[in-house]
Structure formats: structure tokens, C-alpha cells
Symmetry: C3
Subunit: 679 residues, 3 copies
Amino acid sequence: MNFNVDERLLHGGDYNPDQWLDYPAVIEKDFALMKKAQINTLTLGVFAWSALEPEEGHFDFGWLDDIFDRVNQMGGNVILATPSGARPQWLSEKYPEVNRVDERLQRHTHGFRHDHCFSSPVYQEKVRIINTKLAERYGNNPALAMWHVSNEYSGTCFCDLCQANWQQWLQSKYHTLKALNDAWLMSFWGGTYTDWAQIKVPSELGSRKVHGMALDWHRFNTAMTIDFFDAEVKPLRAANPAIPVTTNFMAEGPNGDFIPLQGIDYGAFAKHVDVVSWDSYPQWNNNFEPLAETAMKTAFVHDTFYGLKNQPFLVMESAPSRVNTAVAKLKRPGVHALASFQQLAHGSEGSLYFQIHASRANSEKFHGGVIGHDGTGDTRVFKEVAAYGERLTQLKGLRRTTRKPYVAILFDWDVLWAQKREAAFGRDRKRYFQTLEDHYNFFWQHDIPVAVQPVDHDFSQYDLVIAPMLYLMRPELMARLQAYVKQGGTLVSSYFTGIVDEHDSVYLGGWPQSLQETFGVALGEFDSVYPGEHNRVSFAGQTFETHDYNQLITAKAAQVLGQYENDFYAGTAAVTQNDYGTGHAYYIGPRTGRDLLNKLYDGLPVVQALTSEQLAAPNAAVSIQTRQGEAGTFVFIMNFSEQAQTVTLKQALVDAETGAALSGTLALNPYQVVVAKEG
Amino acid sequence: MNFNVDERLLHGGDYNPDQWLDYPAVIEKDFALMKKAQINTLTLGVFAWSALEPEEGHFDFGWLDDIFDRVNQMGGNVILATPSGARPQWLSEKYPEVNRVDERLQRHTHGFRHDHCFSSPVYQEKVRIINTKLAERYGNNPALAMWHVSNEYSGTCFCDLCQANWQQWLQSKYHTLKALNDAWLMSFWGGTYTDWAQIKVPSELGSRKVHGMALDWHRFNTAMTIDFFDAEVKPLRAANPAIPVTTNFMAEGPNGDFIPLQGIDYGAFAKHVDVVSWDSYPQWNNNFEPLAETAMKTAFVHDTFYGLKNQPFLVMESAPSRVNTAVAKLKRPGVHALASFQQLAHGSEGSLYFQIHASRANSEKFHGGVIGHDGTGDTRVFKEVAAYGERLTQLKGLRRTTRKPYVAILFDWDVLWAQKREAAFGRDRKRYFQTLEDHYNFFWQHDIPVAVQPVDHDFSQYDLVIAPMLYLMRPELMARLQAYVKQGGTLVSSYFTGIVDEHDSVYLGGWPQSLQETFGVALGEFDSVYPGEHNRVSFAGQTFETHDYNQLITAKAAQVLGQYENDFYAGTAAVTQNDYGTGHAYYIGPRTGRDLLNKLYDGLPVVQALTSEQLAAPNAAVSIQTRQGEAGTFVFIMNFSEQAQTVTLKQALVDAETGAALSGTLALNPYQVVVAKEG
Amino acid sequence: MNFNVDERLLHGGDYNPDQWLDYPAVIEKDFALMKKAQINTLTLGVFAWSALEPEEGHFDFGWLDDIFDRVNQMGGNVILATPSGARPQWLSEKYPEVNRVDERLQRHTHGFRHDHCFSSPVYQEKVRIINTKLAERYGNNPALAMWHVSNEYSGTCFCDLCQANWQQWLQSKYHTLKALNDAWLMSFWGGTYTDWAQIKVPSELGSRKVHGMALDWHRFNTAMTIDFFDAEVKPLRAANPAIPVTTNFMAEGPNGDFIPLQGIDYGAFAKHVDVVSWDSYPQWNNNFEPLAETAMKTAFVHDTFYGLKNQPFLVMESAPSRVNTAVAKLKRPGVHALASFQQLAHGSEGSLYFQIHASRANSEKFHGGVIGHDGTGDTRVFKEVAAYGERLTQLKGLRRTTRKPYVAILFDWDVLWAQKREAAFGRDRKRYFQTLEDHYNFFWQHDIPVAVQPVDHDFSQYDLVIAPMLYLMRPELMARLQAYVKQGGTLVSSYFTGIVDEHDSVYLGGWPQSLQETFGVALGEFDSVYPGEHNRVSFAGQTFETHDYNQLITAKAAQVLGQYENDFYAGTAAVTQNDYGTGHAYYIGPRTGRDLLNKLYDGLPVVQALTSEQLAAPNAAVSIQTRQGEAGTFVFIMNFSEQAQTVTLKQALVDAETGAALSGTLALNPYQVVVAKEG
């Protein structure tokens, strides 16, 4: 089996038989229940190193062979993990260098998963050995569908080995100390380096205020992580180059947010994996927002991960119900299928769970499993999973279908990092990804598909490019945006765009010329106001409140669409439109609510054209997403609300599961999903 | 003298002449004032090591001899402390191993009391020497009433010596690594140990997420503390086995709480002391709750400490007025006697203060003393203490009388620790001890005495056993509870009961069979909701709001008393009653306010029987507590309010102080206490 | 040139050509723009060590020579910094001892300015060498106006060298361990020292609870800082004793406060500088208070720094608009001149900025410069600076004029430190400096100049002395206050006065006798209440609310002006007046709002006399301040509001800039400043 050749949607997830080796009856029953739940895919071995190599150089694959046999018997897939996410105790004990050194330069003892030093030669070698063993033993096993390399790569180490790598990486990048001193403006506060060895890791005992260094440290850690990943992959490819490799990316959501992980540049990382996969844990059924808002945020992350390679991805982990968090609320009946179908709707090739059988103890014991602590198929959760599995079997032809968006939202981890290091204007108020979400929201609500795109992607084919808050911009990107507009594209941008170069150094001499030409404006002062302070903007006959930031604008070639109403810059431009070449460039000076963005997008000709192609009149609680391929166009109609909803179809569809014809007004029960196909 | 033979109620407290050795006139005057205040007991030597052994091996007992002489002259008691709570500077300096290593594995310098390593052989030996010296010199002094071993034992050390003890303790407990790996489920995240030496202390640089380890670490620290205590006691007992030993336990109260110290299992520790004593610092006259609520919380702690040995205890420290905290508000006139009589009412053998003469400097200088910085007897505080001392002399025969409760509330530090380590369901929302308080509250308000009991106590003699949130339960306890009900007992329990075994490992296969039989229910899903979210329960003709937790229940043999009103489990059981054997078992699914608990208890037949035995009709602001013994039954009638109150007596009483007859309506001034005896 | 002989008001600020050495055109243009902005003073070399000594012992002064030449050509002043505020990387690398050890006893790597050990002999020697080089090269340069020694001295180090200095410093102070043990009451918690080597630095791993030690640690750090400063100055004076030396002091303002830096005793430090200078960054145009409140707070700090030497000072840094903080809001048009004139009004000899040209990168790149990132003179900020510079040239004769206050407010860093270490009564509620501000506010609002004075200054010449919350008092100060009142002075004090001696040890035997005589009262209990709790005081026919603290008072010789209304001390004295000798002493028992203070001051005969001398009827939004000298009396009339205001002049004035006559009603535009002279 192989992910690329299997035609089935993947259903299943992490299974950890190494936790149940003394309970053979449990394993036996688990497989019976998996069958009942239409589970066809098992992610194995994620934290199994200590089970596979209980002593240094002594390996035990017997138990894993057995599970492989069982999977083969059931005709299933294995996604096999390399076990580097959690090293064995003997490794930490014998080779302390494998343990990370923390931000206060103290060496950790073994204690936690994901706490190994990427620079350690010993660790690299031990990982190479176990990966080679796994590759040789299972690389050609018929059940093997994909490699799951390590687990949720993240974090940093501040040890001397990493410091040496850091200095080496900087030397490769800058070649001369003068170049580095200049890029980071080390003459500020008199910190000019005169020897590469002086450049310490930015620990809590050292320097964390040099912006250029902080930015490079993020890049260095991304590079270190990718290097480690590449090294892990080498023996896997050697054994069988046909098996695709992935690693599970993450999203994070403190305080009700839900955005891609901020610590690693997944745009760069995605170039090294065959398939993007990620672990999706939204806070469904929370009490701080409507379900549709949670759905929109989740859709944004799905589209971000789809956009990394512009190809279908895989939800590697999700929770059948309860997540091991401070609240751990149950998903309401029906939400499981709703959330899972949404994964497919945005391009996932299946729905995988963490985990198939809940652990009986230790730190995630209350994270829900398909099979709970009772060990039966009698629970509501199991039954909902099984029902969803059954429905999946009806969606033949969905695999490998793709999305066709005409709108792109550009984003960049460099921008995120540069903005977050900057103390002025409120470190915590920058909210870059969340601002992208505010723009995305309009399109999600109108069922217009969006391509969330790293800035280095070619965006020339899109009808509309949205690029707000691109604080850090390279001249090359400015040139591409200028050419895009000149050649007829529509571009929307905002305050905090084009301020600094790739070293987080402010462009001198005013806003870069190419941006001035593209947008037809010059920038004036930037007014950053206190929380609770507001200006107002008159725009399109209405008044909108601003907060946090008011960029003052001098319109040159551009026409003024909106003006500030208050303060000493009352009457000056706040929103502008520049007709440039055959295209249009819009600039938004202040931070506003979604209301102004909605109004702006609603009025864009390019958006009106897209709206006319919608399959149904928008309903804010119902999301419609499509995937297209050889087998036709699949239409997912999802009711993200606790109320019954109706959708008025503009064209006739067919229910993909039942074959029933659908037209006119489609009634949806609370949480209901209809998967249709174009007629 | 000896605590066991003295017939007087103890009155006095910590006296620190070692702070006044250069002020002989102060000491002279202090003794005169003590006499005036009817002080008969001095706790000496609590932090006197550096005064007793100013240089290693050179001892100076002269000043202490002098104080002993003075106490003997006044016919008083000495409670003599061993000085291990604060080591001398020379000891820390010469033997750094005696200083603790903290959670970041850094060795402390001398700096703070209670900061010594329990594992240090040097420290153990130095303590043995000084304790032996004290025991030999004062063990048979006629004034010696009790040993006060060390002071407020607490805290942990993470040094290599402690780590070796930890590994040794684990080896003694589990015998094999396989047993330990299994108990902690170390295969989760691949952390299986292959050598005992791999098991590090759970420092911040290591592992803090393994639930079983975290639980054992608490147990280990309790065991270490007790071992140290036992070693301290040995030379004391050798010198004079007749003198009882105690150590002062604590309560803690961040954020308005007031509960027993969470760090040490006092249930286990109490088995090693002759007399339980504790330091009581409630926040009297605060602004966040009525005085009666403060009184109820304090009563709960008193009853917890009484229950540890089911015998009278001793309040070792309390504040005559101001406590050295962030607010340090004065106790209002009359509150001192009120709070002190409450100590007696719940079983204390006297009232002791920290301290008799306020320190003139250093970190507790504004903690109030009986004698303040003015050094006189002219203050309101001194006068109130003296008046209380005078009243104490009237209560002849109170010593050694006991309490006779018919209701038991079970509790367990293991449960507290296991729940607090668990991230899911909200670490800070568990509030185990506070939930017990919610149950306790009903009985306190109705003047029904309660025995707060560790789970390993025999509870078969009680009419009613209350055991909510017993998250961690051993099968043996389940069996005892089952037998208790079967044989006619009434049992009340709730959500979060019987979930994990002694290793914090979830019981597999559903809720344990014996609990299902006892309560006649099976448990369904557990819904943990967001703060601010509520379900409602209809019960006994009323509706009650739930919060935090809603345990879904399937009634089997049980009858349903209350049902959820909302959400997808509307109409299912929320409160049940199972008539089992000749007894009754009640199960409460959701967390509710005290309103539902009050309603439930109010309707229990067993409670109604107890209510009929009350001495007076309940008044929520007035607490009535009794102690019984050879000298008869003492009845404490305490007005915990700023208003005058009346109490309607159901039987005639006699004022224990004045001999006046009391019957019918008894009028109480604000804060007034009447101590009566049954006629 | 020299600060003492230049007649011009200083205008300019930090200029960092070492950041622009590769941009000669920028430097060229900067000087042209400076001329345009009437800039006459450049602060050079603040962080230039690495540019001046790029390798150990190899110096490069060429670039600085060039800048000096340019300044000489423009007839300007240089304020030349010694560069010790930020050491070169090679120094940190080669001599790790120069890097500080932090509160957790960990050695820092190079990472931050102001992070060097004051005790390091290597650092001292390296600073001596570079300072000597600078002094020899530029000490007699005609442009040199002043030395700017280091930068914003602050912070502490916990290394072994500092620990040895600490022990030495203590030994010099106390001579015997007995004296030290007694002063700190080390017998409390048994910590008596028996060897000087036992006295560790109060790190987080050691002792932070000994009040006397904590207080001495603050003093020691002030002494260390001054010693370091004195050593820095030595080579400067040697080269040219005529050039005055200063170092830039600071204010701080977390949470909306704006008060002098709390970490260093500037009262002691000021004795070592020739001119006091400071860096002034108020939060102008914030959203949490009226502009007049911000102005009052800033005025208080100005007056504090003026008062240190009772002579004109210099604002060394201020922001032309945006400050590099979390909000970084723009100053509104006109506020720049308003804030800058206020500096002059309170005694500054000019207005200097940080910085003249904004840095293009690194951690303060968004702190506004006179010249922004655009590099032009076209911005609003530049134009406002230039316009202000132009106005400065009109104010001939203002230099060296002085202030003539008749009211003194006493303050003491010892008091601040002692109160802040004290846990009881709420560490964060003490708000000592802010309480002084509450008293100061009355006089600011009434345009009555105030001398804010360290307690060791002679205050006998003032008509009114305000000395609230003088918690720590030496007997000598009590005697001076007593003599002051006896001889006819008016004194106001409050709760928290005269409680502890210089070692933070409580005065025994009641409130000190001399205070009792001066105020004619004895003190009773001190009631510290919960936030949100209030008593009320009836005073002068009104009722005022109290909070935090209620000191109970027994009036002896004093008459009672105000009484508590509630609680058990209702009816007792709250505010008293003692007519003693020929003077009057007022004591305020509770903490109240400004309302009671205003009422009290409004009624004082001495205040009424001062009010009659006002130049104009007070307007709460308009501040009037005067400076007097040979050239006459300058009157600054400043409208600190967004509204037009009028002021009714009691005497005729002349506009100092235009020569126009001013009398009767003077109309002021929003933010307008009129500088007048007496006719």
C-alpha cells in the first residue's frame, strides 16, 4: 500500500500497542472495533523508540511485526513514525549531550518528549541507526503507506554545539562580520562583533534585544529543524523511494486563537516533505464565539496548510471528542462528522485521530480516544466515529481532487517574527495571523475559496491578492506585486507594509518607491494609540471605528476612498485606490474591525465577479467548499450552527452519498453536512 | 508539668527571649505582663539554634535555663522546640550540603528558615546532637509540658542525596522497574526506565508531566519529612518517654481560601505525633465574605485536625490581632475571644499565640504580639488577651473532653495531589478541599458536628458518610464503602469519584463494579464545560444551576432524584438514590452550588434524625459546638456576626462561667460567646 | 565652550554618527538640518566604545575628530560621553568577569548595555584607559561643554567580587558582627552571623527577607555606583577641571506612574555631579488621565531633580514625538513645545533629545528622532522641533535663573526602600512617591512653587514643610523638625511616619517622644484595610473617604480637626493640629484622596499668604512657573489642555518673545505656552 496509490480516504490514526503489550486481549478487541469503525489507517511507532531499542543496540521488532501483520490482514495502511520525538532513557543517561540546554543555559535531564538537541552528533547517529533499521524492515512492507518523520518538531536548544552551528550558519550567510554588523546595526549600543565566536546564542543570559539577531535565530532554528528532518529521511528514501514522507505540522491557539504554529517557517519546511500533514485541535463548542467562527478559523489553517504545496494534505491528528486541555469539553453530537468533513472539504485526504485507544495513564489519559477507557464500541464517541467512517466509504473519487481558488492571501513567517520582536506598537497587539484571518473571513462567509500563500509563491494567476501587514518585504516581492497590478491584478494591502528589509532594518528615505508607485500614496506618521482609543473612518457612506493603529497617508496618484474623521489628521486619507497599469491597488491606513474589510471587499469588482459563480446564496452559518478532479466536483455543504438552516442552490446538485437530486432550497439540520456533486 | 497531666487550658505561645538578651528589663517586664494576662504556657526555642550553639560544638544554655527557671517560678508550662527549622549560619557555611537544591537544580545559600535538606547526613547528625543536648538538659525539667519538633515542616529538595533517596524509596515500593514502568505507564511518550538511576527528581529541568511520578513524589516527600521527624524524636523519647511530642501543622489560604496545607499528607504524619497541633491564621474581618463564612472555613480545618487522631488537638499559633500579610487588618474588638473560644469548641486544649512579644525588626516585625512594640499592657490587644485568659480559668473540666459527631466527611491527600496534577478539566478548578467545605457547610450551619476523616479511618460507626470527589480510590476503600451501605449506612458521593487507582491510572472497563453496585448507576461521558457555562438540574421541585462539571449517569438499580434540564443530555439522571442492603447511596453527577447540597442534606432521613437532637434552633450566624467528658457537656454558643442574635434553646443550660441558668431565648451581643454546660 | 559659560539655552541631543559611518551623505545632510532646527548641542559617544577602541588597545578617534570639527564649525557644544554604558564585545569575551552575575547567580554573556560589574578590576581599568584617552584628546577642545559620564547607571551584580565588596562595605559600616546582628535582628529566625564571610549577597538563592539587609543592599548598590562614577571622573577632571560632569538620571513609570527611579539614591549621587541631568519620557497624550495630570507628574520629577542641588538642571534626553514603548503614540501637534517649555519653566537649561537621527535598525529603531527614517526636514516632528528651537533663541537671559519656592516636600530613598521591602500593609500599596505627588498636586494646581528636598537638606528657611510617610527617621531629623516647628514653621505629616530607625527596626516604647511633642499626639493601633474598604473622616464641615490605612490617634496637646466616622474607632481623632512653640504641626492619620489634602492646604494660613502672591488666579489646566535672575523674572504660562483657556493676570507682564504687553485676561490656545517677563 502507499498513500499515493490508495484510493480510499484515510480513516484511523495513532495507535500505540506498545502501551498495551501486557494486554493482548485489548489489542485483539481493538482490531475488531477498528473494523467496525471502518478504520483503514494506523499511525504506528510515534513514541516507540524505547520499545524498539530497549537497550542500546538491542532491537525488538516482534510486537511491531505483529501489528503490521494484523494491518495487512485487514487490508489497511500503516503510517510509520520514526521515533526521534522521544528518545529512550538510556540515551539521555549515557549521552547527556542529547538533552537540550534551555534559555537559562541549563542542561535538562530526561523528562519530556521533544527535548533533544538537533546539533548532537550522538543523537543524529542514533536516529540514523533506528531509522535505518525501520526502513530496512518495513520500507517495503505492503501495508506501509507513508513515513511520519518524528513528531511535532518544535523548540530550540542553547547548548555549545548549537552555538557553534549558529556561528557557522551566520558565517555562511553573511561571509563577513562587517556584513553581519551592518545587517543587525550592531553599532547601536556599541555591540560590534570582532570575532564570530563572540556571537552567543540569544539566551536569557545574553542578548535578546537585537532585532536582526532575533530574526535570524528564528530562521536558524527553522534551518536546523529541516536539516535534522532531511537527515532522518535519508535512510527512509534509501530503502524505498516510493514511500512518501511527511511530518505533522501544528496549529496553536492560546486565548481563543487558532493559528499555524509561530515557531517554525512551515513555508520553508513544506518544500522538504512530500505531503503536508497537521494536527488539528480547534476548540469546538467553546463558549466564547459562535461555532461558525471556530469553523472559519479552522478553515483558515486548513487553507494555509493546503497552500504550502497547493496540493491535498492530511489531517494527521484530531480528537474524536475530548481534548486534553484545561476545559476538555465534549464535542456535541454531530460535531465530530461536521469537523471531519470540513477537513475533507478543504483538501484533507482523510481524517486521522489521536488516538485510537485512549491511554490508561500518564499525562494525556483524558485526551479522548476512538475507543475509551471502557474498551468498548458502546460509547457515543465510538458510534459517531463509526458512522463517519461508514459515510467516508461512499465518497469514491474524492481522493486527489483539488481546490481552485481565485483569491490569494499572502503571508510570511519572517513578517510574523519581525513584528513580534518589535516592542514598539505593542508586541501582543500585532496579531499578524489573526489580521489575515479578518480578511479571510469575508471570503469564507461568502463561500469563495482562498489560497493562503507564502510570499515566495507565484501569485500572478489570482484575480485578487491580499497582502496586509507585510511589514518585512524584500525588493523582489515589491517588484512582483508592482508587476502584478500593472498587468491587471487587484491588490489589497494595509498599514505595517513594506517598512523593513530582510534584516528588520527600516527602509531609508521614506516608503520604498515601488510601493509608492503601486499604491499611489506616500506614508506619513504612524499613530499607535492606546487600547480603548479609537478614530473613525468615513468610507462608502458609513462610519467605521479604528483601533490600535492609524497610518497617515498622503494620496498622490491614488483616489481617496475613506477619510479619518477625528484627531489632528481628520479629513486626511484613510483608504485609497490606485488604478495602476490595468490593475487596482487598495491601501488601508488604519486597523479597523471586519466591518470595513467586508464593506471594501463587497464592493470590489473582482469580488463581485467571483460571487456570481457561487453555487448558492451565502448563509453565514453554512460553509460551502468544493474539490474538483477527474471524478467531478464535490461540494461540501456544512451547517456550522445549532439551528436548522436553509441554502438556496443556484444549480442542481446530486447527493454524493445517496445519489438523490438536490435543487432549490436545501434544508440542513443543526451540524448537518451534505456532500454533493455537481450534476 | 506535662501536657497530659496539666488540668489547665493552655494560654500563651511563642516567646523568643533570644531576641531580647540585651534587654533584660524587657524580659523582666514581659513576665510581669504574662502573669497579668493569665499566660501559663511558653513555646521556647523555635529558632534558637544559633543562640544555643553559637559555634559548632559550643553550647550556651544559660539564657534558656533562666527562662525555664522563670517559668517554673510562675508555675507554667514550657513547650520546647527543637531548633531544626532554622540552622545556624556556620552550619550552612561549613557544610553546604545542608542547604536545599531548588527546582532548577541550583543550590541555595543560607537565606531562609525551613530550607534544609532532609537527606543530608550532616544535617541529620547535627540535629541529633542538639536535640540530644536539649533532651538531656530539659527532658525532665518540671516545666516541660511538650516537645515542639522543628517548625512548620514543609518544602522539598532536589539535591543528589534526595535523588538517591528517591530512587531507593521507589525501589522499595515497586521492587522491579517493570512494576514502576507499568504503574506510571512509562511506555507513553516512550520513557520506559531501564535503570533505577535514570529516575531523576522531577525538577523543572526534568519531568513534571508523568502523573504517577508526580503523585509518588508527593508521597516520597511526605515520607522524607516523617522520617526526619522520627529521627528528631528519638533522643527526646530517650530522655523522657512521658513527654508528648508534636509538630505544628499548617493551613493555607491563597485567594480567600482557608484549607489544610496541601503539600504534606497530614493523615500519614499524624500517626507519628502524640498530639496534633496547628498554626491558625484565618483572615478574620476580611471584606470578601461574612464573618460566619470565615468561621465555617476555620471550623472545617479545626475538625480536619481533630479528625486526624479523633482526639483533642492544640492551636499552637494564632494571632492576637494583626497578621503579617499583605493586608494586616486589625481584628475587631471581641473577635479575639470569639476566634479563640472557637478553637476550644472544636477541640483545642488551649489558645497559643505567635508571639508573646512582637519582634522589633526583621521580616515579621508587624505580626502582632500580645505585647506590642510599646512593651506595655496598655493596648487594646493586650487587654483582650488578658480578659480571655481570665475567662479560660473559669472553664474547669474542659481539658480532655471530646467531640461526638455522627457524620463523617472523608478526604485524602492522594486525591488532592492526583487531581491537581491533572491538566484536563482545569487544574485550578478542581478545588477538592473547597468542595468538601461546601458539603461541610450544611452541617456547620445546622450545628451538627462532623468528623472529617482520612479515608483509611474506620467510618462504620457514623450515621452518614460523605465522600465526594474521591477521584483516586483503592479497591479496598470501595469494598468498605459498599459494606457500609449494605449494612445500613447512608453514603453521599459525586462526580470525580473512583476514576483512577493508586497510581493515577484509570480503571479500565468502565466504572468499578463495586461502585456501580453501591450506587446503582453506571457512568457515561463526563462533560467539562467552560467557566460561565451552566446546565440546570431539576431536583426536589426546584431548579439548580451547575458549573464546571456534568457527569452523565445511567441509573440502573438507582432511582433518579434529579435530572439535567439542558443540552444533549437533557432529561438524563443528575442525582440518584440507591437503596442497597439496608442503606442508601446518593450520587451527584454535576458540580452545583451549595443550594442543591443543602436541599439534598435537608431531606435525608438520617439528617433529620440528627437535627432533632440539636440543642437549639439553628441560626446561620451562630455556631453551637459541644465537647463532652467526665465533667459534663460543654456547649459553646458563638455569634459570628456584627449584629445581636438570638438563639432559642430547646433545653435548659447553665452558664459555665457564671453559673447562671440559661433557657428559652438566649440573646447574644455581636461577637459574643457563651460557654454553657448541660444542666 | 563650556556649559558654565555658554549663554545659550541648549538645544539638540544624542547624535550617533558611529551608526552612520558608511553613510557620509547622511551625516552631511544631518548637519545642515541641525542648523535649520537651531540645534547647538550634540551629545556624542554614548555607546561608542567599540567604535573608539575596536580592538583592545587600538583606538580610532578619526570619526569623532571629524564630528568635533563640524561642531566647532557650527559654533556648537559637545556633551561628550564616556562609553562605559556598553562595553565592546571583545571585552566581554576576553574578560568574562566584566559581565554581571544575575539574581540567580548565573553569569551573563555579553548581551545588553548596562550589564557590567562595577566591582571588576578589569572593567575599572579598561574604563580608566578609555576615559583617559578621551579626556586627553577632547578635554580642552573648544566645543566641549560637559562630560556625560556613562549612561543611565542602574542595576546590580551578584558576583563574588561584588560579594566581597559587600562584606567589606558592611564591615566598614558596622565594625563588629554584633552590631550588624543587632541592627538586622539576625536572632530572628536564628540567623546570627559568626563570620563576615557568611553574609552572602541577597540573591534569589539566598536571603531576601531580612529587612535590614535588604535596606543596606540598596545603600551598598548606590555606594558602588557612585564609587564607579567617581573613578570615571578622575581622568576627566585631571585633563581639564573646568569642564562640568554629569550623568543622566532617570524616572520610571510602570502602570501610568511617573516618578524618579527607585533603584538609586539620587540624593546621595547628586552630591558627586556638577550638574544634575535626567532623561524625561512622560506618557504625553495618554488615554488614562488628563494632560494636566501628566504635566503635574512631570513637574514633580523636574522639581525633584532641581531640588537635589537646588540649582538648574538639564533635560539630557526627551522624545521629539514617539517613544519606543508598547504604545508609541504620537505627541499631538503643539505638545512638543509645551512639554519642552515646561522643562525650562522648572529649571532646565535647555531641551535635548534622544536622538537627533533615528536609528535605522535594532531595538530602538521606532523611538522617534528629530530627523526620521526619511532623512529630511519635511516631517511635522522636525518642523515642530525647529520652531521650538527658533523660539529658544528669543529667551535671552534665561540661563542660570533660578526658582524661589517657599514650600518644601521632604523625601528619602531610604524610606522608599524600607517601605517597599515590608510585606505587611501591602507592598504595592505603599506608593510613597505617589503619595508625595498627591500633596504636591495642590501646589502645582495653585501655581505655588515647591522645593522637593532630600531629608538631609536644611529646610529651616521654608514657610511650610510637608513630610508625609517618613516611615524611616533618624532621631536627628526628628530634632530638626521639632526645632523647625518650635521656631515658627508649619509642618504637615501623616500616617507611616517615624516608625523605624535607620536599620528598619521599630522604635520601642511607643512613638518617639520628640514626634509626640512636635505633633502633640500619641499613636494608637494602625488599621490596614482591604482594597475597597473605606472609613470616612469629617473634616472642615465635609466628609472624606479613607482607604488603605487608618492610623488611630490620641490627641494630647493637639486639637482635633477631623474625626473618623465609622468602625470601632468612630469619633476618634483623624486629623490634628498642634500649636507648638510659635509654629504649627499637622498630623493626618488616614490615607485619603487628594480632596482632603486640598482642603487642608487650602485652609492653612501659610498657604493663604503664598496664594496672595500669585501672578494670576489659578486655572487647573494652566500651569504658571517662574525663574528669576539678573535678567529679571521669567514667567511660563502653559496651557495643558486641549481647550482654549484664559488666565486673569494680577499684574502686568511683557511677552518675553515678542515684547508685547500682557495684562488683564490672557487667552491661551490649546497647548499654548506664553513666556512672559515681569514688567
